[in-house]
């Protein structure tokens, strides 16, 4: 996992896990794949926060704003960004 997560001056690569895993993930309003545990690039070059959103037709959608400091703490603690959607 340490090999898989990385930080550059403008972006952080880290695991995002959504429950359910077949939910769609949007980062800063752009679709970024499905919700199964996978690495996403979180870009801080243009903004101080990234907005992570998850959507699935059978669940309530969620939006999570994350600042870089919080994300880097999660990387250090080896904690995934996790969003659990509530069933409708």
């Amino acid at each position: 996992m340490l090999a898989a997560t990385a930080c550059t001056s403008t972006s952080v690569e880290h695991f995002i896990t959504i429950d359910p895993p077949d939910a769609s993930v949007y980062i800063n309003g752009v679709r970024s794949g499905k919700g199964d545990r996978r690495i996403h690039v979180l870009d801080f070059s243009q903004a101080e926060r990234v907005w992570i959103q998850a959507v699935h037709r059978d669940f309530h959608p969620e939006a999570l704003p994350l600042d870089r400091r919080t994300l880097e703490r999660m990387v250090s603690a080896r904690t995934d960004v996790t969003i659990s959607l509530g069933r409708r």
Binding site: R31, R57, R88
Partner: protein
């Protein structure tokens, strides 16, 4: 001594210019969009701030997304405080744009209103995922 005075005056001018430039209200252009749970685009009214003035601005300027010829809405937003509130009112089947919060509450829409606090340094693209009632 003369040079020192000139330097001081130049420095004061620079500081004064800097302060004047900073006194203006910071502005940021956001791009708003709205989708539903099937990730299909949905029509909505974007209201920035609270109160009647925000509503009259939103309706007079037709701050809508996915409505008529408009898809995403690019909107320059003033930041008079650290955070601003953005309300997203889903439009009903008729596509009519409500003129007040009261009219919006009575409007028949299958989706709930959403509210988000935005900061000056947030990403420019702001997507709202509308939740059915």
């Amino acid at each position: 001594m003369g040079n020192f005075k000139i330097q001081k005056a130049a420095l004061a001018a620079v500081v004064c210019f800097g302060l004047t430039a900073c006194e203006g209200i910071p502005m940021k252009t956001f791009e708003f969009d709205a989708i539903d749970l099937d990730e299909e685009k949905r029509a909505a009214l974007i209201v920035v701030g609270d109160g009647g003035e925000s509503w009259s601005t939103a309706t007079s300027k037709q701050q809508v997304v996915n409505h008529g010829d408009v898809e995403t809405l690019r909107l320059e937003v003033p930041f008079q405080s650290r955070e601003i509130t953005v309300h997203v009112w889903p439009l009903g089947e008729s596509g009519d744009v409500p003129r007040s919060p009261g009219e919006a509450r009575n409007m028949v829409s299958d989706y709930k209103k959403q509210t988000r606090q935005l900061r000056l340094n947030d990403p420019a693209r702001q997507l709202f995922i509308l939740d059915p009632k």
